[in-house]
């Protein structure tokens, strides 16, 4: 009896020792490669593209000699799109794996949960897709504390501007449309987006008939479409990312006779046509780029590499993550350091040719400090339309000569023309 629990105690001690040894290498963070953490949801294509884009950038950088004589190493963490998992992964990245910078998430709420941790742990952090203006607003309002956070994609107010600019050209000038309904999921990033829509769409020539916000859990969109149809708008300007497949398929199956435009993040996925069984035909959305489009000289080579390495064209986050890592590497090079404050100072000076346009951040005077610059001289923001299984670029006209095409049931095109 007595020796029996002695063995048990022995087993316990062995377990403890194993833990101690397991933990020991963690302290020995030497002069090896410079580590960059990537935290995103691997099960989602948008998230997977983030880690793939980052890996690709690191491979390119390492092929050209690395950074300050050291290689870049990407460490990927899966956050299952949960704030808590993301924070836990962030802590692990900072404290256990000693990364020097973090590229994370396409969800604004997750980015907002990470932002205070970036501040607390002084970790240069960039989100390649989260669009909420709150992220950059916090940097603006409390620069000393939050300066470590960067938005590597257009903030929501700029996204709204892009939608208004393109809508003016595409829907008002070309199709003579007059009215729109805003249809957005209830999330942090759509609040500034909707506000932007409401202020700039009328200026662009589209009267806003209604704003419909819905639960991101919604699966049945029939009532929403019926409600919108009753208002007889010419176009539905969306702000959707959590949902995408379902509203698109139901729009198609129910033959809602109204153009579906705005921002539908899932529709930018190359797999969207297959996911919707072709229901995406005719859908217009804002995106980063489409296959075959050369926004800058870097766009096509990176896209080609991506297809070569991962077998398919990435979601737009593949490009933004690629650019984010390039920007971080550039900042480290210029700073000759991996110290957080030095990286941040150099990041702010970034002015490079990215894959989606000229890459740089708004300064401290802008209300959106550290958000990506929007504009024809910077990132122009491309609009695409699904046409017979292909993503076709339709705006801006300078880059995209293609015409819009709509399925026969979208009657609002002809009604407006008359």
């Amino acid at each position: 009896m007595r020796h029996r629990w002695m063995t048990r105690a022995g087993v316990g001690a062995a377990l403890g020792l194993a833990l101690a040894f397991g933990a020991a290498p963690a302290r020995a963070a030497g002069k090896g490669p410079i580590k960059i953490g990537v935290i995103a949801e691997e099960s989602a294509i948008v998230g997977q593209s983030i880690s793939q884009g980052a890996q690709l950038a690191a491979a390119d950088i390492n092929a050209h000699g690395g950074v300050n004589g050291r290689k870049l190493q990407i460490i990927v963490y899966d956050d299952h799109s949960s704030a808590a998992d993301a924070v836990r992964a962030f802590q692990r990245a900072a404290e256990q794996d000693h990364v020097k910078a973090v590229v994370t998430t396409f969800i604004s709420e997750v980015a907002l949960a990470i932002e205070p941790w970036a501040a607390r742990l002084h970790m240069p952090t960039i989100t390649p897709a989260a669009a909420s203006d709150l992220i950059s607003k916090q940097v603006h309002d409390n620069y000393a504390r939050f300066k470590y956070m960067f938005e590597g994609w257009l903030a929501a107010p700029d996204l709204a501007r892009a939608v208004c600019d393109s809508s003016h050209d595409l829907f008002v000038k070309e199709l003579h449309m007059k009215s729109a309904v805003i249809m957005s999921e209830d999330a942090d990033w759509t609040k500034p987006l909707d506000a932007g829509y409401k202020s700039c769409l009328p200026k662009a020539g589209l009267k806003v008939l209604d704003e419909i916000r819905f639960n991101p859990d919604t699966t049945d969109f029939t009532p929403i479409f019926n409600k919108i149809e009753a208002l007889h708008p010419d176009v539905i300007e969306t702000g959707i990312a959590h949902v995408g497949v379902q509203p698109t398929v139901q729009w198609h199956d129910q033959q809602v006779p109204i153009v579906l435009g705005g921002i539908s993040a899932q529709a930018t996925n190359p797999t969207f046509w297959k996911d919707t069984n072709g229901a995406a035909n005719g859908v217009v959305t804002q995106t980063g780029t489409v296959a075959g489009l050369a926004i800058t000289p870097r766009t096509l080579p990176v896209a080609a590499e991506f297809v070569k390495k991962y077998g398919r064209f990435p979601a737009f986050t593949g490009f933004t993550a690629y650019d984010a890592v390039q920007a971080l590497a550039g900042a480290m090079r210029r700073a000759h350091s991996t110290k957080p404050d030095a990286i941040v100072a150099q990041m702010e000076k970034t002015n490079m040719v990215g894959t989606l346009g000229r890459y740089g951040f708004y300064g401290r005077k802008s209300p959106y400090t550290h958000a990506l610059r929007y504009g024809t001289d910077w990132v122009p923001s491309v609009f695409m339309q699904w046409q017979n299984g292909k993503q076709v670029c339709i705006w801006p006209a300078k880059l995209c000569p293609n015409k819009m095409e709509f399925p026969a049931f979208v009657k609002s095109v002809h009604m407006a023309a008359k």
Binding site: W5, R8, G12, G22, A26, D78, A84, Q91, E109
Partner: protein, 304 residues
């Protein structure tokens, strides 16, 4: 007096816990910090299930109330200690609300109600995403500390105190009476015990510790999210931790929690599939070792 294996295990665990900050890296300290809070969840659940005999499938209802209650108060500008108290109060109110049907219903119906309570809380959080952050999570302004060590000590201290209180209660007169009411409420009443009063007490105690731990976890992580404190998968994790560690042992839940959290973390390199593997292991334990680890370790004692 014989030196019981339980004492040896507890002493070993305490030694491990106290010495850990000197030889564990910051990150693993963080892992244990989370595991300790889960340990309190598990102990609170075991008090209700193992002693009062109430199968509560919704421990996360109580935890979520505590976490979100504390978080919302913090957003409103309250200091952390008051927020924790407020969150615990919210959880206790929730515990009483759960106890009311529990006292009227038998069999599967009570279990169902606890599940519905979680769904309801989940929907409320999603619907009022404006204040709660919805499915993604709510950021709270304050954290306990940003030092992994300090956080570890908070969690460890909280675990030891809660463990001592809950284990003490389970071995006290109240624990005896609770077991009697849990096993057969008619017989317990015939022995002169007011079953309603004692069950209510069990719910309140369980809710109090669940809510406190939920609030503490929120202020450790800086966020309260559905995925960490409300989701049914968390309830499952708690139940599994208890079943794995040993039902009706109170302390077994801590063992199970540490195992689950640690394993989930150690298996992180295999990527998305870590949850799959941990679930599979837990399923096997449930199928083949229903008495749990501590149950097996302590078993020889009974055969005297």
């Amino acid at each position: 007096m014989r030196f019981s294996p339980l004492v040896a295990i507890v002493l070993g665990a305490l030694l491990f816990g106290v010495s850990a900050p000197w030889w564990l890296g910051a990150y693993f300290l963080g892992v244990f910090t989370v595991a300790y809070y889960f340990g309190v969840f598990a102990m609170s659940w075991d008090l209700l299930f193992g002693f009062a005999g109430e199968v509560n499938f919704g421990p996360t209802f109580l935890i979520g109330l505590g976490a979100y209650g504390a978080g919302l108060l913090n957003t409103a500008g309250w200091p952390i200690p008051l927020c924790l108290a407020g969150g615990a109060l919210a959880a206790v109110v929730g515990g009483v609300a759960l106890a009311l049907p529990a006292l009227r219903l038998r069999g599967p119906y009570f279990g169902l109600i606890t599940l519905v309570a979680v769904l309801l809380l989940l929907d409320c959080i999603v619907i009022f995403a404006g204040v709660t952050g919805g499915e993604i999570g709510m950021m709270v302004p304050d954290v306990l500390s940003i030092s992994a060590r300090v956080n570890y000590w908070y969690a460890f201290g909280f675990l030891v105190i809660s463990g001592a209180i809950l284990f003490g209660l389970s071995r006290s007169s109240l624990g005896l009476i609770l077991q009697a009411t849990g096993q057969d409420r008619i017989e317990a009443a015939a022995l002169g015990f007011n079953v309603t009063k004692h069950k209510l007490a069990a719910f309140v105690i369980s809710a109090l510790f669940s809510g406190l731990a939920g609030g503490m976890l929120t202020f450790y992580e800086g966020t309260a999210s559905v995925d960490t404190v409300v989701d049914l998968s968390i309830a499952v994790q708690i139940i599994i931790a208890v079943v794995f560690g040993g039902r009706r042992t109170i302390l077994g839940g801590v063992l199970g929690s540490v195992f689950l959290v640690l394993f989930d973390e150690l298996l992180r390199p295999i990527g998305q599939l870590n949850t799959f593997v941990v679930s599979a292991i837990a399923l096997l334990v449930i199928l083949f070792l229903p008495d749990g680890v501590l149950g097996v370790l302590l078993r020889p004692q009974e055969g005297r």
